[in-house]
Amino acid sequence: MSDALADWKPDVLGVEGQVLPVVTAPAGVLSSAGAEVDPADPAIVQLAADLVATMRVSPGCVGLAAPQVGVGAQVFVVDVTEHPKTVTAHGTFVLCNARVVEASRWRPGREGCMSVPDLTGDVKRAGRVVVEAVLPGTGEPVRLTTDAFEARALQHEIDHCAGKLFLDRVAGAHAVYQRKVYL
């Protein structure tokens, strides 16, 4: 099943992605659980392409979930390839209806979010996860094992799809920071 992900490229979606405006907190869509989607639905395929396009024009962006472009759906894109904290990377990929099925090696790390542009926070995340999901378009099931920064990004995006922000998981009263530089 993981081969499906290795071969996956955004152009298999077969539609042109549009850059969408990114929604910031407080916005209701960011705090509501997204709906499970039909990965074959043309609207979901278009959404997948739009997420890729929007991520690509956003400097430093390593992942973007549907609620962040105002759509309450369990779809997100991740691409951590260029990030220095990355160990394992699977390139650019879009997942639908993703679930974390195994999580271990919990460790803290500082994270930010395009939807909370002025703050960052220390959040404990699993450094190794197994995620199950389906691919947009084909609906092919994938089971993805990853670690380090890609694991963190996946958990952050899956949280978005469940209506959670990193603010809901910060490690303490002094674990939220005013962001000093914009990437």
């Binding site: 910031t24 907190a25 705090s31 703050l119 603010l167 809901d168 910060v170 009263a173 005013q178």
Partner: protein
């Protein structure tokens, strides 16, 4: 031991901590617990000191430029029972009057003791993170009451166990 509670606040500038701690050291005042942080351009210090008289500290801090200081003698910490279970409360949503008041009232009514709390306002977004000692067995009930309060305020709230791994 003579214990003092001191607060200092003023427009942020270079050298506030150095000026204040130097004045305290000059009086033989020993700085024990403190928090010092910048809040919207104001630098705020809250300190507990021992070993100096309140009047002397007041006189030493008064000439430091731009700062408002308060000093008072306090009773040393009583032995507290730390029977509560540590939890974290996150609240975020559109800024409005009374978020902190409503949320902390719910916590207090449940017997929860707030041990640390930070708020941030960035643009329209208000964020509150609190560390709370919750009476054993009452967290589920508190979570329900917080959810009700949050719905009334139109904000999001989560209550979760604070982790502390002893190594």
């Amino acid at each position: 031991m003579n214990e003092l509670a001191i607060t200092v606040i003023g427009p942020d500038r270079t050298g506030i901590v150095a000026d204040v701690s130097e004045a305290l050291a000059g009086l033989g005042a020993n700085l024990s617990d403190s928090t010092m942080t910048r809040l919207r351009g104001h630098f705020a210090m809250t300190l507990i000191c021992t070993g100096a008289a309140a009047d002397d500290v007041e006189k030493a801090l008064a000439p430091i430029s731009g700062l408002l200081a308060t000093v008072r003698a306090v009773a040393p910490e009583a032995d507290t029972d730390a029977a509560g279970e540590p939890y974290l409360v996150s609240v975020h949503g559109a800024d409005r009057l009374g978020i902190v008041a409503a949320v902390t009232r719910v916590v207090a009514a449940a017997g929860g003791n707030i041990t640390d709390l930070t708020t941030r306002l960035t643009g329209p977004l208000y964020v509150l993170i609190a560390e709370v000692d919750v009476p054993p067995g009452s967290a589920d009930d508190l979570a329900v009451r917080l959810a009700v309060a949050a719905q009334e305020l139109g904000v999001e709230v989560t209550l979760r166990r604070a982790e502390s791994d002893v190594l």
